[in-house]
């Protein structure tokens, strides 16, 4: 890459402290190692044997299990970085990654924060402030006004101006309280009263405002990169419409519905948005994409995203390498001009939860782990066989990402990979992905942000072998019974000493039992 801009001195990073845990800490350690940078892991008490600790060059305890006493201890983490001679901190996602105060602490201590400036984090952190900035910069936002409506007449006039359907929202709001969707003018009076009284009861402030309601939008986000010399580029979109309770579950790039022309327009809007706050390093502008192709800025995530690998796979750009180079002062070179996606990538988030038991978390020991391999497969995994999934943190274990020349092939590849994956000892949400891969809407790319919740509420997306029809009473449906009966048969044979598991023949099932006993003892 050319080094023709002198305004920011290049400063090589030699040692990075990773202020995170799990798969994203592993991801950053890998990038650092590839760049010849020494890595420092931090760990809470239960994470002493976590994969990041095992892979890092150095590791230090940061406190007990609760996040606020460990991974959220901003001052202690910066102090540690200074003490061990780390010249930079990578915050990963979550935890301290979007806290301007943390970035400021780093700057004051002379430690490079691998991310945007505290000022940019602050500007994008406030919904009201960022919306105002975006409107001023000409970035489309959901039409409406954050100003409180003085009375019903004002609400009616404004709703007419916006066009129905509209959404009433509490000014002090959050969590859906004081929110009312209004489909037509006749409903407005009732909804207005209900929203005000709910807002008053919930927040002690009954003021409400109006926004245009976007019907069944998609969530499409744009990855941007900004260097320290004022250049901001777009790396194209990710489609993240498959969400359960606002939590992304499957992400892909490119979006099945974004044309090159729309990609360019959304990319331009994202670059404008980032430039408006002087953004540097990796960030993501989230948009709602309406059925008619109009799109609206939601917010900017001022950090590396969970789903960044799908962008990496279709662009060939390593985002973590690039984050570090940007933080060193390197300008974005010609490799970042007009980046276009190649092929199709899909990511699933593997959670330790049981999708058919109210998504109950399933912590515990992973007694067996086999990750899929072969062409087009990437595993970003934060656990290993034998590791303990703790109750204290987010239940995401790993991300499985596949790449293929087109979406159809990528989905077939994902199905193949899920067939190879084995996680035993805990429950995971793999059955949900298998059901999604059998779902006609997902297969055809027909999605919106409410689709997954609607299908789950309707009892769709059941595991294929439990669907009525040919799978019932089939060999496949009987398989668990066959295997359990065989295991039981051998166990009974051993205890009873009957002719079943005769002494001359060492039973294979007994051998398993012994092996497992050994395995247990070696881990206990």
């Amino acid at each position: 890459m050319p080094e023709n801009i002198e305004s920011v001195p290049r400063q090589r990073i030699r040692k990075v402290l990773i202020a995170n845990r799990g798969e994203i800490a592993v991801r950053v350690i890998r990038a650092c190692r590839e760049m010849g940078i020494r890595t420092v892991a931090i760990y809470s008490e239960p994470d002493r044997l976590g994969l990041p600790v095992l892979l890092a060059d150095e590791a230090y305890p940061i406190g007990p299990a609760p996040s606020r006493e460990s991974y959220l201890r901003a001052e202690a983490i910066v102090e540690l970085a200074v003490k061990v001679g780390a010249d930079a901190i990578h915050p990963g996602y979550g935890f301290l990654s979007e806290r301007a105060g943390f970035a400021r602490l780093c700057r004051d201590a002379g430690v490079t924060f691998i991310g945007p400036s505290p000022e940019a984090i602050d500007a994008m952190g406030s919904k009201v402030e960022s919306r105002r900035l975006m409107m001023a910069a000409g970035v489309p936002v959901v039409p409406g006004g954050k100003d409180a409506l003085p009375d019903l007449a004002a609400a009616a006039a404004f709703a007419e101006q916006l066009g129905y359907p509209v959404m009433l929202k509490a000014s002090a709001g959050g969590g859906g309280k004081g929110m009312r969707r209004v489909v037509e003018a006749a409903e407005l009076a009732g909804a207005y009263r209900a929203a005000r009284s709910e807002a008053g009861a919930s927040f002690g402030d009954d003021s409400v405002y109006l926004e245009k309601y976007i019907v069944d939008p998609r969530h499409v986000e744009i990855q941007v990169l900004g260097d320290l010399h004022g250049r901001v580029v777009s790396l194209g979109e990710r489609e993240c419409s498959l969400q359960r309770r606002h939590q992304k579950v499957v992400e892909e790039a490119p979006s099945p519905v974004v044309s090159p022309e729309l990609r360019r327009r959304m990319g331009d809007a994202a670059v404008k948005a980032a430039s408006a706050v002087g953004y540097s390093n990796a960030g993501t502008c989230e948009f709602l994409l309406a059925k008619d192709g109009s799109f609206y800025f939601l917010e900017m995530n001022t950090r590396l995203q969970v789903e960044h690998p799908v962008t990496e796979l279709v662009t060939g750009i390593d985002l973590v390498h690039t984050q570090i180079r940007i933080a060193e002062g390197e300008p974005l070179g010609p490799a970042f001009d007009d980046v276009q996606p190649r092929g199709h990538a899909v990511e699933i988030r593997l959670y330790a939860e049981d999708p058919y038991n109210r998504f109950a978390p399933s912590p515990g020991r992973i007694v067996r782990l086999r990750l899929p391999e072969g062409p087009g497969i990437r595993n970003d995994c934060g656990v290993y066989e034998g590791s303990e999934v703790s109750i204290h943190y987010d239940p995401m274990l790993a991300k499985l990402i596949v790449w293929a020349a087109d979406r159809e092939t990528a989905l077939n590849r994902l199905e193949r990979a899920l067939g190879e994956l084995r996680v035993e000892g805990i429950r995971t949400n793999v059955p949900l992905f298998r059901a999604l891969l059998a779902d006609a809407d997902f297969r055809s790319g027909n999605m919106d942000i409410g689709m997954l919740d609607r299908k789950l509420a309707a009892g769709e997306l059941q595991p294929p072998e439990e669907m009525p029809g040919e799978m019932q009473n089939s060999e496949l449906a009987d398989l668990p019974f066959i295997a359990a009966a065989l295991a039981h048969h051998e166990k009974a044979g051993r205890t009873l000493g009957s002719g079943v598991g005769s002494a001359s023949r060492r039973s294979l099932w007994n051998a398993t039992a012994r092996r497992e006993a050994l395995r247990r003892s070696s881990w206990s």
Binding site: I391, E420, F481
Partner: protein, 166 residues
Amino acid sequence: MELIARSGEREEKVRVRRDGPDVYEVTVGDRTYLVDALLTPAGIHSLRIDGAQHEVSVRRQGEDYAVTSRHGTAAVSVTDPLSHLAAQSHGKGARRQQKVTAYMPGRVAAVLVQEGDAVTAGQGIIVLEAMKMENEIRAEHDGTILKLFVQPGQAVDTGNPLFELE
């Protein structure tokens, strides 16, 4: 010997007969399978049924077998009919008394009832919290809370008793 196997809502009579080295005749309901069963050194079973190959692993999980294949994990309990009958008659003779245990490790976020309270099926009794999520433990049937074993804020492990319901 005929056994009773249960998984979720399904209950089947199963029977296993050894039919030679590594070969078993397994009957599930009215379907009979000839199964060539072998174990890999990694503890994984290869079951060949009429040439169709299934990779499964079977682990004891309490009283159940956890059977994992490419289609997911199923918990299967296997009992012989005699002990099954005994358990049933015991259940009928005695009052319906149930000690409910934690199905996951976590922290007791809330206890919603008191000892001696009458509860109805589906009523929330205890809220367990793990991995930033709250899960309500509900009464499986109408009854009275005989005993509460936990208090709010307490940490519990899988299998720890939570409450006793009569």
